[in-house]
Symmetry: D2
Subunit: 470 residues, 4 copies
């Protein structure tokens, strides 16, 4: 796993609220953006669409409809000069010809990793789309993530149909259950073979999608015809070349509640300080956006930017000045921020069952450090620490995420039926796209410290550009 | 401070949702339930009320209107047999004759202790009632609790008027700020004298009201004419002889959000367990009620009932059985529960600045113990711990608390103008009452383990009556 | 149906936020407050309660536990003087001996009339209590109100069990459906007989309870042993001798949203006026309480008080003055207010299928009249009319109503199993009671124009005591 | 005003949830997309940004940074073939050199037309950005729309500063007030001149922006140097070449509450039908999106598609079939739908004070027609009609709209300070753009009946593609 920052994929933040960096990504020129298929699509789609204009009936999408990676005029000109075709993504949508016979295809889906608002919406819309639009009748859910494909756990498949999923979108979490932890690719593919599964939808984050890539490789090695379609799930919104992932907006919404509480607590006591820890292992999008939405935050700390506690330019000194002038303060810290404070001699980082880096608790660390600092300088401090994590991620999807999940699922179903594989459904410039798994997992999208989002964050908090000596 | 349980004052839970224990309280027979006054009320109230029936104009309340402590028929009969008058509380309400000249009276208010939904509503309604109904124009707020009366802190008084308080009820917390920590009674009374304050409204909990009692004693010792009117503030709802305190309902409402998240997390993972720590230092009302409201909780642990972790009847064994049969569980624990686990040889309990017992973190203790127990028996456990505290208490009041706070404040204003002192405004049998400070602080109201609330809680969770060997 | 106002039952407002009128009700002295039973309760209750004190196990309730109608000291003295026993209500709660064999009893429930928050909570808790605590296994729901018992409609019974009701409390409305319209008592009792129903729970309002009374009479006439237990459902909170009905608090909560919108609209335009019509056919509780909760309302109009549009003391003139001084205003009108404007010569009022008086639309009337008045005097007016009715009543119960519904249902189940009949479960002085159907339907509870609620309303709006010439 | 539908600007729906039509717009090739300026920007911006990469400091935006109108690969190729430059929009953002001296510039802002969530957020962020980032100290708000510039109304300017706007974003509506109705352009420009206003921000919809264009023409005619910057405000999201307008997401969110109530009502009665009227004068975006978010809707009717009541393919017949099979239904109708039913011989449409077409009430019409139809065929119908309009538009902005408004305002401030004029701030492909007023008002964006949104809507409701005979 390379942890390198994507300098260009960044900026690509959720639904159009921040300016996109218009510089083309040199890496993308060398990547294969074509989508694998299981074979020729020879079956007429049961969807009653067409290509006629003006009949008030929607159109199918052709495989050669593609969307530029970079829509800046500068990029257009650059490729014109070069005489090359610019990088572009395949457009998602219903195809006129499909690969699988809907009456025979057997479909499975699985949800992996931490909970995220909207998982049930994706499951529900996948089932409804496959059942009602395509007429698929064999739809199964694997229980508790990839464990559901491993015999030792003895989790039976759940049979999915419209009745089963009717009301699930009203609850947070996932009716299929989830789990962390790698499972043997061999066992999973054995299970897919044994159950005659033709399509597997994997709803999960970076680790899950890398797992899906490995499964896809094994499927090809065995010469099987099983489609692997990913729906990227990351509450942190850190999938590269995907401008928005589901659940992220809801998380920002929910996070504002904790910030509001921190603000009320901070104002309610002499030298009151509210510290809120929010999600964001590698990318501080939730911290930045919820802070801008509330505008009551005085410092935002994100994984993308190193900061110092001590020294004239450090956090403690800034907080001293803020309290001296205003008497209260709110600090928002993303969980992945300040991990440098925990580096040890051994230098070995720990990982959890999903292969995610185990993070030290920066919220507790910050709170302790601030308390001891103010004790040392003999200034009273009323610090209240709030860690709302599960409350945020267990929430049901808000309206915008509900719509978004519905669309993601529809496009995932279209791609699967058309015989696409080894891909995820993405969003780019407000259009749904097909993205190879290899591209979606090539790095992580992070907040551009020279981009609009960070500038807006810093402007709304009034914090210094950097909380450290140069 | 005596920590003894009130056997009868209990049952007296928030707004009528649980049966009241009808046994009369032997202690109350010996208590003085009369309200002190500063002197004879000789001024005609500016309120345009009267005693005429049928004119669609509300009535004044007479000082001899009183409400029975115990409304059971059995109690009526008992006192009839004894030929005695049963214990009763003075009714709150506007008096025809008042003590203070509204144009001259100078009023102060102070909020103390932890935040609680509705504090701003009380402040606002006090100001509006005094200003608009009585015509009082000198209203001040002390900043940061009793600190506001102590010169070393240099917090200036805030001048309060309708414009200042116009929108404050939309925010949680208190615009006056609050603080913990005892301040010298002498200094406070010095300050009241120096500023010519005639009435002090203290909005605070058990410790604050005990402080108010000491202030009142000092005032009397000095022969001053300063009224002390308390508005009891306890999110835990643990003031004796008061059936409901403001903010408590809102807290229950907010707590259900955390329980809901715990339930979603528990169902989302194999052997998922959600643990939620809620407020309740001595009294488990919030834990019980929010669990009944949600009905997704499997164990509620409250300070009133001792429980054991180990043994066949202990919590671990219960959880083993629950997970074996259902695969997930939700545990709600009040912060004051299980404090016996932390008793040390020294036996010395610690107290915070307000004189409240410092509690050990039972939520973290429980989570650690459960994790190590299941590790020992080699059963996988996915435990998620949620501690929403500040999010709950920093919320703005919901509609019912907003109305309730308004009424409390109105009655506090009426009592103050009538020259009452050394009292709090209470609620009993859906009627507002005047309660001597000595009665309101004589012990704590706790959940009756043989009452309706606990029975309903145990029935809704399905937990054993006791989680311990006899 | 007598429409007479209860002069004393009034004041009895929702959960303790307003002072109760302490005058005893002369009528009540003449009413029979005893509860009918189907026969001697000879079966030991399966509930593991007892009468032992100190064992942390809840107690059964004895039939002679009763609660005074009037808990004022004055009332106590009056009856002592008279040497009479004061009127009192039988306490609800689990009885040691029950009438029905839980393994054999067959139970039905029905929901009637307009939707109200909490109906599903009552259904759910009834089922859970009967099933899990008593071991009842034959529980049925009649579909669409009393229609469900009438063969022509061909609605089959719904079999109810814990799985069916698991999540229904998260939705508003009623899973059983509801309907208005009288059905023949004979047919209903025929159906009860034919299906061997032993207990019928009727969840409905005034009309439904009167229907239940007629059914009970017919049952007795036929010499049957069928229990009729009512759970009063009135969003308006207008059942006499019951201090609070479920759904009412939630309705107040929801109503504040509409008032808030009206306030925003009023302030957003020159001479902006927001008019909100709220529920309240005969009783203005929702209008009064939601107005106090929001404190942005300038006039509240309720059915209990006549008002005039024209004249110096009328609404139009008041609004002129308000707009001249402040530039905007909010008016809240209960749907039953001002019906006198619609009286015609024929004098014949119309009734809907439930026998409820058909109301004219006072909201539209008011809006039109105000518009034409201001047009006439050539003052620009920006009036926005909001009628949120279904949005309010279709909401799911809030936390407090959820708890309340649970308790009502538990007590209804206890009463039914004990062989009680011809009664409703009530709430009085924060205690659950048994009330004869005849008492619960004897008149309507209305806002006392000389009580605390109306005084508080008028004070918070600043409107004149009366909007009419004397 | 031309009312013509934009065939291509469509599809361009809110924040990336629906596929964009990739066909280039022939009209756009002929439009001037360049932005007017007041003169050369010669003053160094006070913002501490730069063009250095890697210093963690954000960059200025150059005037030649532009974004393609059409990011499809097909479009790229087309213009390559033609050897032309494709249409593109100027990028928004802070400029290195500005036109106005921040210490001397005098700025005004005005809000016009109907309320929309987020107006206060835009006002607040404009003030904060101008004040804190640029150091502007003369900021004024005109009261009640363009009336604020017309002397006869005598509305004084409001002086705006950070303290004044501190908490306004927590309320819906606009603190400046709004109004409809055209005012004389001459008078407005006179007022701008008289008050020495250098920049006017107009926050309003189609009519307001057309007004702004006229003002701009008059300013140029008089040779003045006054910048006119629009922030498009349309809850319906119908501005062409702008993919999203503020408040629209919040409106969709709020609309789901009404739909939910309709669903509960529909299921609660035999043959229950809930009819919800939503905003959408010309464009059905709110109706479509809220229906997809809820997925409980059975028919969506929008202005873009003609439908019939009668006939085998009409709405009545569809509803008959739906009720026969499922027993309940929910209909969502945009206010502008079905206006053809009201066409009269005179053919003269009426307009309101803002020049908007006066719509007939299609919700009431539908309800009446359906009731009479079912009466005629003697099928019982329980129809509940919900019209939540003001409740939706008076709501405060949700988190995403709060962030979006903040960004719009920041970019509007940057554009104004740089001396841009005659433009609005737009959003395109998730990037903020500058759009000439002439382009933003050239037509209306409508739902593409052959696009993704309508297809998704029809799929989620299960309604026929068309409710009419061909």
């Amino acid at each position: 796993m390379k942890e390198k920052k994507s300098e260009q994929g960044e900026g690509v933040v959720s639904h159009g609220v921040f300016k996109l960096d218009t510089g083309a990504d040199p890496e993308l020129d060398t990547m294969d953006l074509n989508i694998e298929t299981l074979g020729e699509a020879k079956i007429k789609s049961p969807l009653t669409l067409n290509f006629i204009k003006g009949d008030e009936i929607a159109a199918f999408v052709r495989d050669d409809e593609r969307l530029l990676y970079d829509a800046s005029l500068r990029n257009h000109r650059k490729y014109v000069e070069r005489g090359q075709e610019p990088p572009s993504f395949e457009s998602a949508g219903p195809r006129e010809m499909i690969y699988f016979d809907p009456t025979k295809v057997k479909v499975a889906m699985v949800t992996c990793g931490g909970l995220c608002p909207g998982m049930n919406n994706v499951i529900r819309s996948l089932v409804l789309q496959l059942w009602h639009r395509y007429g698929v009748r064999s739809i199964f859910g694997a229980k508790f993530g990839y464990q559901g494909f491993v015999s030792q756990y003895q989790h039976p498949f759940i049979e999915l149909n419209p009745e089963f999923v009717a009301d699930i979108h009203q609850q947070g979490g996932t009716v299929l259950g989830s789990s962390r932890g790698e499972q043997t690719v061999d066992e999973i593919v054995d299970s897919l073979e044994r159950h005659n599964i033709n399509v597997l939808f994997t709803i999960g984050g970076d680790g899950t999608l890398r797992g899906a890539m490995a499964i896809n490789e094994e499927i090809k090695r065995r010469g099987l015809r099983i489609g692997i379609i990913g729906v990227p799930k990351t509450i942190d919104n850190d999938i590269p070349y995907v401008s928005r992932t589901f659940g992220h907006d809801t998380a920002v919404d929910q996070a504002t509640i904790a910030i509001c509480a921190a603000h009320v607590e901070a104002k309610g006591a002499p030298n009151g300080v509210g510290v809120v820890k929010l999600m964001g292992r590698h990318s501080g999008y939730i911290a930045c956006k919820s802070s801008i939405a509330m505008r009551e935050v005085n410092v935002v700390l994100i994984p993308e930017q190193r900061f110092e506690m001590e020294g004239e330019k450090g956090l403690c000194a800034f907080l001293e000045r803020r309290l001296a002038s205003r008497g209260h303060a709110v600090i928002v810290v993303a969980e992945g921020a300040g991990q440098g404070f925990f580096h040890t001699d051994s230098g070995k980082a720990k990982h959890d069952a999903s292969g995610n880096l185990k993070l030290h608790d920066i919220g507790v660390y910050l709170s302790d450090k601030l308390k001891s600092h103010f004790k040392k300088i003999d200034v009273p401090l009323n610090l209240k620490y709030i860690d709302p994590s599960y409350i945020i991620r267990a929430a049901p999807a808000n309206s915008m995420d509900a719509i978004f999940c519905n669309n993601l699922a529809e496009h995932a179903a279209h791609a699967a039926m058309a015989g696409k594989t080894g891909m995820v459904v993405g969003l780019w410039y407000e259009n749904f796209t097909h993205l190879p798994l290899s591209v979606a997992t090539c790095n992580r999208k992070v907040v551009d410290l020279e981009g609009d989002l960070w500038r807006s964050t810093v402007e709304s908090t009034g914090q210094p550009t950097k909380l450290r000596k140069e």
